[in-house]
Chain length 472, copies 2
């Protein structure tokens, strides 16, 4: 192992790539790169080293030498994944892209941009805004997520109902393969039918097939007008049937989020929108975006549909500041939950997705189960996508409580699968949901995934143990 680290250092120095040591074995850094407070699981083991490459060529050197010595390679960018994605159960090198966080090329006329993996989506949008580009990147997962990890997990977020998921916004990827080979999936057309869709297979592969070192992303036009509103409902089911009505009317809302009464309480407790206090009832949050005329049109149609589904208190954010606070309160619910923890407590945050028509039923049953077990849990969902999140506070030191949470999550996942759903709508599998994936698609389909894995990474050094087990 230490031979390999020295060899990496030597080769990179010989390339003239960096004067600094790009490898760290500092114990704190190893811990920070192998353990996650947010994650539902933390398998034993830490990386043996953390590498900080400055270029695709550095990453290629790292992979080539790790390949030679059969050393695992685990990509790292925002570190905000939830299922142990960047854990190091087999040791190896964590490749942290911290220094590869730049915009490489901005093609304004083509509405696309070439970026490195450690640029955050919020930072990217801040830079696009500073340039007065009139463009933005619409995929909005957790605020600290970065493009590399967002590609790895095929993330999405509140905008998905309008803009789709990560894979819809990738034009091409530069990927370092397990043996150090550098490939580019395609050139820069927005649309192509040329050969296998390698973007589609690398996006969502959680670093198990290669490391993405550069991505060309499509950008969207900043809407002329936006507006944010909330509506309360007597039950989640009423909220869900309003949401169904809106979807079936084809109203192009920008976002539509559901939160239960617990989640609304958490927002109030968090105080982010103080002095405003929200009604603690099942609530739909809407974002509207478009031209002034179309936003007005959408609002009036949504208002009428929510009204006929027992919605009350249709309220707008009063100004842009409140719009931002309100939306950021929505975006920061995980932190709000984390802030409520007492000594020894953790938050288990997980997601599933089902066909749209089954969502209300799934939420109701899952909520009831958690209540019956006496767990403090909140629910929020990207209701237009049939995708929802459950966040449960529990005490990690109490075995009984841990078992309760595990049982609740397992039941929720199985319920989602029985409703023809998926064990994860946007968080992906990582270390934590391997058994669920197997149940979801079955052994023959997982076998196909493993055949692809084996073909591109025959030594199984790329993020081993994630998505599926390493073959014995």
């Amino acid at each position: 192992m230490y031979n390999a680290l020295d060899e990496i250092r030597r080769e990179i120095k010989a390339q003239g790539g960096s004067d600094e040591d790009i490898i760290s074995i500092d114990p704190d850094e190893l811990h920070a790169h192998g353990y996650s407070e947010w994650s539902t699981v933390n398998p034993d083991g830490l990386p043996v080293a953390v590498a900080y490459p400055r270029s695709t060529e550095h990453v290629s050197v790292i992979a080539r030498i790790c390949h030679k010595y059969h050393i695992p390679i685990i990509g790292y960018s925002g570190g905000s994944s939830l299922e142990g994605h960047f854990s190091a159960p087999y040791g190896g090198i964590s490749v942290d892209f911290a220094y590869m966080n730049k915009i490489v090329q901005f093609n304004k006329d083509d509405m696309d941009i070439v970026v490195q993996p450690s640029i955050g989506w919020q930072d990217l949008n801040a830079q696009l805004s500073q340039m007065n580009s009139g463009l933005f990147f619409p995929i909005d997962p957790g605020p600290s997520a970065k493009i590399g990890g967002m590609i790895g997990t095929n993330c999405s977020g509140t905008n998905a109902v309008r803009y789709g998921t990560m894979r819809d916004w990738v034009i091409n990827l530069t990927v370092v393969l397990a043996d150090g080979t550098i490939i580019k999936t395609r050139r820069r057309p927005r649309k192509s039918s040329a050969g296998y869709n390698l973007n589609g297979i690398f996006v969502g592969s959680e670093g198990t097939l290669g490391l993405v070192t550069e991505a060309t992303l499509k950008l969207a036009i900043v809407p002329e007008e936006t507006s944010v509103a909330v509506v309360s409902f007597p039950t989640i089911r009423d909220a869900a049937s309003a949401a169904a009505g809106i979807m079936q009317a084809g109203i192009p809302i920008a976002s539509m989020e559901v939160m239960d009464e617990v989640q609304m309480k958490v927002i109030n407790l968090g105080g982010a929108t103080a002095p405003r206090v929200w009604k603690e009832a099942p609530t739909l949050f809407f974002k509207f975006a478009g031209t002034k005329a179309s936003v007005q049109d959408n609002i009036s149609r949504v208002k009428s549909i929510t009204k006929s589904n027992k919605g009350s208190n249709f309220e707008f954010a009063r100004d842009e500041r409140e719009q931002q606070l309100l939306w950021s309160a929505r975006k920061e619910v995980l932190w709000s939950m984390l802030a409520l923890r007492k000594e020894g407590e953790e938050v288990w945050s997980t997601d599933v997705a089902v066909p749209f028509s089954r969502l209300a039923e799934l939420i109701e049953i899952s909520k009831k189960e958690m209540d019956d077990m006496g767990l403090f849990a909140s629910i929020l969902g990207h209701i237009g996508d049939g995708n929802f999140h459950e966040s449960i506070i529990y005490n990690r030191t109490k075995k009984e409580e841990v078992e309760k949470v595990e049982k609740c999550v397992k039941n929720m996942v199985n319920r989602a699968l029985d409703m023809e759903g998926t064990c994860t709508g946007e968080h992906s599998i990582g270390w934590g949901k391997k058994a669920s994936l197997l149940r979801e698609v079955g052994p023959d389909t997982v076998a196909v995934m493993k055949q692809i894995k084996g073909a591109l990474d025959p030594l199984w050094i790329m993020n081993p143990g994630k998505i599926f087990d390493v073959p014995s």
Copy 2:
């Protein structure tokens, strides 16, 4: 070979699946399944038999027995592909899904539908309309295309600027693998991050990884209002800059197509919109769709942008009949061109795509080259996607003319690649564009595709010779 055919017949009879003989060796059928009048290429060789399965299980039997005897398997549905996709250069069995053309399950509330591969997209939409579902399937390639082939080629069409391409509309696929194993890529959530995106790899793989026997497709809401309009421009470049202005303003047009003066002439000659005669000049076709208010808003904004780019004669289709005629004239340009052929003549129809900003330049240079060579060629493009088609009439019996066409096409593709484009935006590779794909993405990226191919089809029996050459 004939052992294999008998074995297939026997097994399927034993399953009780079909009383009829599902295999034909009629020479006319073999020819119809191995040769295409529309295709730019027709390699030597025909299938040895055509199989007409009635179910996924039949397809599985066929694959298992072909696998045992190392016999090539080639999928067939609409037969309208343009690059020799269903040709049989290595013989084998053509699997024609003609009898698998049904809607299996319609999930209206979830806005999705499960279909068999040989349902045509037009037929699917006719059935959805008959059911008063308020839903439609928005991907619109050539009128005779069927879902199976549309998945194989990752096709798109005039609606792509608004609705994306085939891969954006696939929820799950049932696939028969090379050895007869039946897998389902996922269940029925509209969104998922669970494991590798197998939809993404099977869509666009041209039957080289497996045969799709069932697909769950997302559906879109039928817009409240539609409108069709045309505008003429002095040059293609003016049309392109109007199109760029529209895209950059973020106006959600439903379609935006460019046609050159030759193409407009072909429409007039075809007579589909008679007695109306269109101005024979570079023209943009627009489709608008949405609510009444948003359509009006979009039209007035598009009108003003085209005007400031030298557009003239902004004209609407006068009624629904004219709207349909006009749009179908656009959809049937290939037939219009075919109708113009004289004795011995053929039409070479091909497509490329480039980053949006380069399209006008590419079209101008390519048109000039064809004019200089004295070729009769028309151009039409999905200008919002940077994708355009060139259709060239030539005499197949005149070697010199064939060489001219081949040269023109090759030059156009290379020009597109030099502009960071792709050799095919929606027709895909087939037999005809393998060299272009290699030039486009390079040998290391093609090697990754071949590794995936080798992993899922180690005997290379699935549509061999397409996308890339069979390894020697």
